[in-house]
């Protein structure tokens, strides 16, 4: 029998209003890749944080390398060789990548000074070794989430952890990047004898990478299975408690007029460089236009520009025939646009406000909730919030809970619930299912299709090619701020589209 590198005995974690982990016992063997799956809010992150020492369990015992943990703290865990990549980035925005990677264990000169040069060198060589390219001197606030994810992984590698906990590391990676990461993980395990615990909502990834899978549901450990013995369907069923079918969806043809037209759009990114260099496209009524592209090729800037949140330098945006170039978000919304932003924590939600308050946003002046544009109808609002929570299956003890205390997937559902309920004709959707469990993905996809079938013109941006292919009627590829190809869904395969996403034009194929 192989060595049990981590063992949990009857671990429970109680938050004031939630029992996040309920009497969990499991063990992880040295040198294995152990996957954890479960719905949003099942308690996966909490369990990982407990292993990492960020939480102290309310009851139960944790053994690392055979030793019982008495004092829970990340610094002790780091000493014991545990590293963790968190679901929500743990990076200081104003520091450079190198500074972030070495934070907490900086290379020093003369014992008290931090040695910046050495840090940069270390990062360079780490990048090279693991094939995770980053610019050590770039500031975190200026780089894309994909890069930030790499930085997170480099951070744990730098600390020399032999147990790696990865909480949804692939959520924001492109398929190529995921593939790269998995190579790295395999190498770490096979050649360097490390142990990896990985949380992911993508069941195909689980099957590709892991040796064993633990399934969690509502705080409990439902089952631990050998990966070889299961398939996606079984896992999904274990997770959600019912059958989940992410099969091709039926999309009736809708003949609709043009609703959105974008002409020669030029937009700058946060650092002042051109992020979009003359992008043009249109979207028709009842059509989903998918934008495929590797993270950081202008997708974020595109949605922001369309939503009125980023200055348009050159070019025009027409919405329903009206020149909406330079409109602010309010005016854009008044034209009938709803928007699911890429960054739900900062843009899409107010974490310190209640779910009700988050859902009310945008409807506060509507006659339904507000008499004479002056008096909010509390009861109506509360009922509405309850209704949406139920309809969109937000897992929460009550509608008064602050959004910040929800699990990631449930936060996303709050945004979707609000924006999809506006009854708008146009939807800008960015990464709708990032970090969302498979049951919820099915649900969100259904909602998007429903919107489309109702005649909505939808712009869909996603790092998930599967998602793009599953939902879109038409697909454009974006590379370095330019459109490199446009296809009807079905004209092209997932493999072929990769060429366009890496800068090759149609002619060259």
């Amino acid at each position: 029998m192989s060595e049990r590198i981590i063992e949990l005995k009857n671990v429970s974690k109680q938050f004031p209003s939630v029992l996040a982990n309920d009497n969990i016992s499991l063990h992880i063997n040295k040198g294995e890749i152990y996957a954890i799956v479960g719905e949003n809010g099942a308690g996966k992150s909490t369990l990982m944080k407990t292993m990492y020492g960020l939480h102290e369990p309310t009851s139960g015992e944790v053994y690392i390398k055979g030793e019982k943990i008495k004092s829970f703290s990340p610094s002790n865990s780091i000493k014991r060789g545990i590293g963790m990549v968190h679901q929500h980035f743990m990076l200081v925005p104003s520091f450079t990548i190198a500074e972030n990677i070495v934070l907490g264990s900086e290379p020093r000169s003369k014992r008290i000074f931090s040695d910046k040069k050495k840090a940069v060198d270390i990062v360079k060589s780490l990048s090279r070794t693991y094939g995770l390219e980053v610019d050590p001197n770039a500031k975190i606030q200026d780089v894309s989430v994909g890069i930030q994810q790499r930085v997170e992984i480099l951070k744990t590698l730098y600390k020399g952890a032999d147990i790696l906990i990865l909480d949804e590391p692939t959520a924001v990676l492109t398929p190529q990047e995921t593939e790269e990461l998995f190579k790295v993980i395999k190498r770490l395990v096979n050649e360097l004898d490390k142990t990896v615990i990985i949380i992911t909502h993508k069941l195909n990834e689980v099957l590709t990478i892991s040796d064993r899978v633990a399934v969690m549901r509502q705080g409990k450990l439902v089952d631990v299975v050998n990966t070889r013995e299961v398939n996606e369907k079984i896992l999904a069923e274990l997770m959600v408690g019912r059958e989940v079918l992410l099969e091709d969806i039926d999309k009736p043809e809708i003949k609709g007029e043009e609703v959105v037209r974008v002409k020669d759009l030029v937009v700058k990114d946060n650092r002042g460089f051109d992020a979009l260099k003359g992008v043009s496209f249109h979207i028709n009524k009842g059509e989903i236009l998918g934008v495929a592209g590797i993270e950081g090729n202008g997708q974020s800037e595109l949605t922001e520009a369309l939503a009125g949140m980023r200055k348009i330098e050159v070019g025009h945006v027409f919405i329903k025939g009206i020149d909406a170039t330079g409109f602010n978000p309010k005016k854009i919304r008044e034209l009938g646009v709803a928007h699911i932003p890429e960054d739900r924590l900062v843009t899409g939600l107010s974490k310190v406000s209640s779910i009700t308050d988050n859902i009310l946003m945008g409807s506060q002046f509507k006659e339904e909730f507000c008499k004479n544009k002056l008096h909010l109808k509390r009861d109506k609002i509360r009922d509405y919030a309850k209704k949406l929570i139920k309809k969109f299956d937000v897992r929460t003890p009550s509608e008064d809970v602050k959004v910040g205390s929800l699990s990631g997937g449930n936060m996303q559902k709050v945004v979707i619930a609000r924006e999809f309920s506006f009854n708008t004709e146009i939807l800008l959707i960015s990464q709708p299912t990032r970090g969302v469990d498979i049951g919820a993905i099915e649900f969100i996809h259904d909602q998007i299709i429903k919107k489309r079938n109702e005649g909505c013109a939808i712009l869909l941006i996603s790092a998930e090619l599967d998602e793009i292919f599953r939902l879109s009627d038409r697909i454009i590829t974006l590379y370095e701020g330019k459109v490199t190809g446009e296809f009807k869904n079905g004209e092209i395969t997932k493999n072929e589209i990769g060429y366009y996403m890496t800068g090759n034009r149609k002619e060259q194929v």
Partner: protein, 353 residues
């Protein structure tokens, strides 16, 4: 917005416990200083509520606290920090006084309305500048408002010592406002006057604005997450400026009430930090309008009471300041104490779903 009654009760309980703990420490200090705490606290309470006059005096002191407290609440909740209430109050007071001693022939009703409008306008305007600097030029409003306090106080100081110096009695103030304009007193000798009714009306309006209207909701969301508010279509800049202007106007009105209800003229040191006291009050109750009223009464009680406490028991007023600051510390720590207690209970208690 939709806070549960249970939370409120819990808050009140822990608030009282905190105050109680602070009073215990205060008692200890008095004991160490050789005074009898029971006598001291009795004098404090009697000093604040012991007679009709004392009660009136206590309530009179709530007026500027409530107004500046509400002013703080609306600006802080919108994520823009008006620390300039003191300056706005001075300018508002002067503007109101100016109307009162210049247009002495106006009908009373008109004069008072005019004075209140003038004070609100000038207070609001004086808050408008730092707000615009913040919103358009990203200049921190905490600095500018602190600086503008000094400027306003110096400027009014100039006005009352040069162009508008009182004709009689080397007052360091303007002339008196017309006799007819003075707000009637409610209790003989005390400073309690009809401005408390106006204050109540203003408090109700602000309460309604903050708690019941979509605008109040917008103010709050702008303060809680400006990016989100902007994304959702709120003109955050406008709301921030508006919050600041309302805040300044309230401070200006507080100044007008000091003139028309208390001193009947502008005095060069008309406020000794009312705006800061009001800020404290608002912060303690987390910008809750009803809380501001209650906490203002508590602070006014401390002020009137401690005055009598000093005279009656010989406990030096400095010591009372120390005790007061401990009370403030403990009230501010209320939430923290509660959390620590809950965590402790959680550790020993049973698991619940």
């Amino acid at each position: 917005m939709f806070k549960k009654a249970k939370d409120n009760v819990e808050y009140l309980i822990s608030l009282f416990l905190s105050i109680f703990a602070a009073l215990l420490i205060g008692a200890l200090i008095m004991l160490l200083n050789g005074q009898n705490p029971i006598v001291g606290y009795k004098a404090l309470v009697l000093g604040a509520f012991g007679s009709k006059y004392k009660i009136a005096t206590t309530f009179a002191k709530t007026v500027p606290l409530i107004l500046t407290g509400l002013a703080t609440a609306i600006s802080f909740m919108s994520g823009i920090f008006n620390i300039g209430g003191e300056g706005q109050l001075y300018l508002g007071a002067f503007a109101a006084a100016y109307i009162g001693f210049t247009f002495t022939n106006l009908p009373v009703f008109i004069a008072i309305i005019l004075a209140i409008i003038a004070s609100a306008l000038i207070g609001g305007l004086y808050a408008y500048f730092p707000a615009v600097l913040r919103v358009k030029y990203e200049i921190d409003e905490v600095i500018t408002t602190i600086m503008l306090n000094s400027v306003a106080i110096l400027f009014t100081n100039y006005l009352v010592n040069y162009p508008f110096q009182a004709a009689q009695g080397k007052m360091g103030g303007t002339d008196m406002i017309a006799e007819a304009f003075k707000f009637p007193k409610l209790v003989k000798l005390s400073k309690l006057n009809t401005s408390i009714f106006y204050t109540a009306i203003i408090a109700i309006i602000i309460y309604y604005l903050i708690k019941k209207t979509p605008f109040g909701y917008n103010f709050r969301i702008v303060g809680e997450n400006g990016v989100f508010a902007k994304y959702a279509g709120i003109n955050t800049k406008r709301y921030m400026i508006l919050a600041m202007v309302i805040s300044g106007a309230l401070c200006g009105i507080a100044g007008a009430f000091e003139v028309y209800g208390v001193h009947y003229r502008f005095l060069q040191n008309i406020s000794k930090g009312y705006a800061f006291d009001g800020m404290l009050v608002a912060l303690i109750v987390k910008n809750n309008p009803v809380g501001i009223i209650l906490m203002s009464i508590f602070f006014a009680m401390l002020k009137t009471g401690s005055n009598s406490m000093e005279v009656a028991t010989g406990i030096p007023s400095e010591l009372i300041l120390v005790i007061q600051s401990i009370i403030i510390l403990f009230i501010a720590g209320e939430n923290g104490f509660k959390k620590l207690f809950k965590e402790y209970r959680l550790k020993r208690g049973k698991l619940v779903k």
